[in-house]
């Protein structure tokens, strides 16, 4: 039974097989691919800073940051000021926040029978877009992070402006998403306390319990994150064991006979990436509590993604405090990138999880470019014997509507998955 899943930045076809009234396999097909990697071949390395944000309209900024870091990794030595690093982290953080608001209000809440509230998605996301624009000029699709730093300089007045956008977004969260003081919410380590609160998130979580959905969406309980910054640490986690010793060398991509999306595995195993993975690796108390009670199900996945909003808003305030405006925003690299023959790679935490870019530069142009997106990890199309993460999460469900809900808790993005 083939179901077309719509409004996921494109579409996907899910082909469900049932046995005894339960889903026993789902073939996931993404039908379109633009092959950005091919477009990049032969181009000047810096042009990738303009092309790559156009991989995706909702997480293009993560592609920009991944690109600039991969290009800088081609250098043996390159100096980036602390100020530039903080500014890059800030704008990427703002993008994650806007994504989560959109996912929650445009995608998730309607799946629980609520009318889609577009304004609740657009109001806070516009604040985050403005905050990015203060540094980057515009959102979406800026290329303001360049090899050597960032193009902008900012003043105290800009910082004040950005801080107000953050405060306003926090206020929105406290009024709508979870009606509580964010300071208390951030240290909360008990999901029962969240369930007692009012707000759009507790409403959904209560629905999950009421509808007896708590067993839905369980997968391998195996998580990985490669991106590192001042907030996220890299590592992998399986059930209760977490290690931080992982290497991108073990990441392999495989083409897929039934879909234009490539599967990606770490040491030949599928891993889940994204907010739940980050929370498990970084041991976020509230998410750990949800996971301890319910495992890697839709409850944990939803609470993890929404929880990142106040965490990141709060963290971005701290980052703003750390900015030393007297530092340079940009330090011109001693060697022009077109004079470099070499390879570089990067990993950043995008909204949906770890995003990996790899580049080879030869004779001043891009010889090869490889992009591995977070959704490739989560939405891999495995076989019956070896299921991908979201496939496994849908096994055993009784109807396609519930399966669509489970699928969309991974925050599906068609354009990224195939790029």
């Amino acid at each position: 039974m083939i179901e077309l899943i719509e409004k996921i930045e494109g579409e996907a076809k899910l082909d469900f097989s049932f046995e005894d009234g339960k889903i026993d396999f789902v073939d996931i097909e993404f039908m379109t691919a633009r092959n950005i990697e091919n477009i990049l071949k032969g181009k000047s390395p810096l042009d990738a800073l303009v092309i790559n944000p156009r991989v995706c309209g909702i997480c293009g900024h993560a592609h920009l940051i991944a690109t600039v870091e991969a290009l800088e990794d081609c250098y043996e030595n390159i100096e980036i000021s602390k100020k530039a690093k903080i500014i890059r982290e800030l704008t990427l953080t703002f993008e994650l926040i806007q994504n989560h608001f959109k996912w929650f209000y445009l995608v998730m809440r309607p799946l629980f029978g609520e009318k889609q509230e577009v304004l609740k998605a657009t109001y806070p996301t516009q604040l985050m877009a403005k905050a990015i624009a203060v540094f980057g000029g515009q959102y979406p699709h800026t290329s303001y992070a360049i090899v050597g730093g960032v193009v902008c300089d900012v003043t105290e007045m800009d910082i004040i402006k950005v801080k107000h956008y953050i405060e306003e977004a926090i206020k929105f969260f406290e009024l709508n998403v979870v009606q509580a003081d964010t300071k208390d919410f951030l240290v909360c380590d008990n999901v029962d306390k969240v369930l007692k609160k009012s707000g759009d998130l507790p409403d959904i979580l209560k629905e999950i319990k009421k509808k007896k959905y708590l067993h839905h969406g369980k997968s391998y309980d195996r998580f990985i994150a490669f991106g590192e910054n001042s907030y996220f640490s890299k590592g992998k986690s399986h059930k209760t064991i977490t290690t931080h010793n992982i290497s991108m060398d073990h990441v392999k991509e495989y083409s897929n006979p039934n879909s234009l999306a490539k599967n990606v595995l770490y040491k030949d195993k599928y891993y889940e990436v994204g907010p739940l993975a980050r929370a498990m690796i970084n041991k976020v108390p509230l998410v750990k509590d949800a996971h301890r009670r319910y495992g890697d199900n839709i409850f944990s996945r939803i609470i993890a993604r929404v929880c990142e909003i106040p965490q990141l808003l709060n963290h971005s305030k701290e980052l703003l405090e750390q900015l030393d405006l007297s530092e340079p925003s940009y330090i011109e690299p001693s060697i022009d990138i077109t004079k470099i023959n070499g390879s570089g790679e990067s990993a950043v935490e995008a909204a949906r999880g770890s995003l990996i870019h790899k580049v080879d530069i030869e004779n001043g142009v891009i010889k090869n470019y490889e992009i591995i997106t977070p959704t490739q990890w989560n939405l891999g199309n495995g076989t019956k014997k070896k299921l991908g993460v979201s496939q496994k999460a849908m096994i055993g469900l009784e109807d396609v509507q519930t399966a669509e809900l489970v699928f969309k808790t991974f925050d599906v993005c068609s354009v990224c998955t195939t790029h």
Partner: protein, 289 residues
């Protein structure tokens, strides 16, 4: 008015740019999407492609190829079907208008609706008088929304040669840039990461010869790429993306692309005059201590 937002070969950047329109409540009261890539609609994509749903404006995002399908139906067939019943067609973004970045995608013969780069194509020539082009990568939300209101009001918009409304595309991106003085007086010592300087001379800024209102209406109501210090990439133009976007192509020290409508002799004469004097204020830091 009923609007169909149809995505073709795209990144959905225009979709998300549109979501930045500040007066969304007003807009959604005045227009109904029969389909939109992220906003809920009364019809599914399957219904849109298999039936013909009543509709007033067709919006196309993304470049177009005969090979590209949505819900198993070639996107050109969907366009042809709805083009017949709508009052206006709007190409949303540079891909839908000129082919843009995804002109280079793997799909065969990828183009914009009426143009491939500057060249007019015949495929949809019957629709030329119905079409308004809104280029930009992405399109500015105000440009899109106000054009839709103009259609609703039956305003007779003046269009340029690429069918772009002159209200937004008669200007250059240079108009309103906070770095203008450095350009006017040819102070050519821009360095990235600073508030001062003009990116036209060395860093590839295309604003003086790119049509658009970025610095007039600003992005996200707060800033623009050039104000921030990022060169204009010329994303509203048929040539987007050119190559070596962070460098200025020069012949014998003279920028190859000159400000719109300014001849080489005029430019050289002006440049010669400005070289004869130094404006101390523009040589120094803006915040001089």
């Amino acid at each position: 008015m009923r609007v169909l937002w149809l995505s073709s070969i795209a990144c959905n950047g225009n979709t998300h740019s549109f979501l930045n329109y500040p007066y969304m409540e007003q807009f959604l009261n005045d227009f109904e999407f029969i389909y939109h890539p992220v906003i809920d609609s009364n019809y599914s994509l399957k219904e849109i492609v298999t039936e013909t749903i009543a509709c007033d404006i067709l919006l196309i995002e993304g470049s177009i190829s005969d090979e590209f399908k949505r819900a198993d139906v070639p996107v050109v067939d969907i366009i042809t079907k709805y083009a017949k019943i709508v009052k206006k067609i709007v190409t949303v973004g540079t891909c839908a208008t000129f082919g843009g970045i995804f002109r280079e995608s793997d799909y065969k013969d990828t183009t914009g609706l009426h143009f491939v780069k500057e060249v007019k194509i015949d495929k949809f020539k019957d629709l030329l008088n119905k079409t308004i082009s809104l280029s930009g990568c992405p399109v500015h939300p105000e440009v899109l929304v106000n054009t839709l209101y103009a259609i609703k009001k039956s305003v007779d918009l003046q269009l340029d040669n690429f069918l772009r409304p002159k209200d937004y595309f008669a200007y250059t991106v240079h108009n309103g840039c906070t770095r203008n003085e450095y350009f006017e007086y040819k102070v050519d010592n821009h360095k990235f990461g600073e508030l001062e300087g003009c990116m036209f001379y060395d860093h590839g800024c295309q604003a003086p010869f790119t049509h658009g209102s970025c610095n007039k209406i600003l992005w996200n109501e707060v800033n623009s790429k050039t104000r921030a210090g990022l060169p204009c990439m010329g994303c509203t133009e048929p040539t987007f993306p050119k190559s070596n976007l962070f460098g200025t192509k020069k012949n014998m020290g003279i920028p190859q692309d000159l400000p719109l409508g300014v001849g080489k002799r005029t430019y050289l004469t002006l440049a010669g005059i400005t070289k004869a004097f130094t404006i101390d204020r523009l040589e120094k830091k803006l915040f001089d201590d």
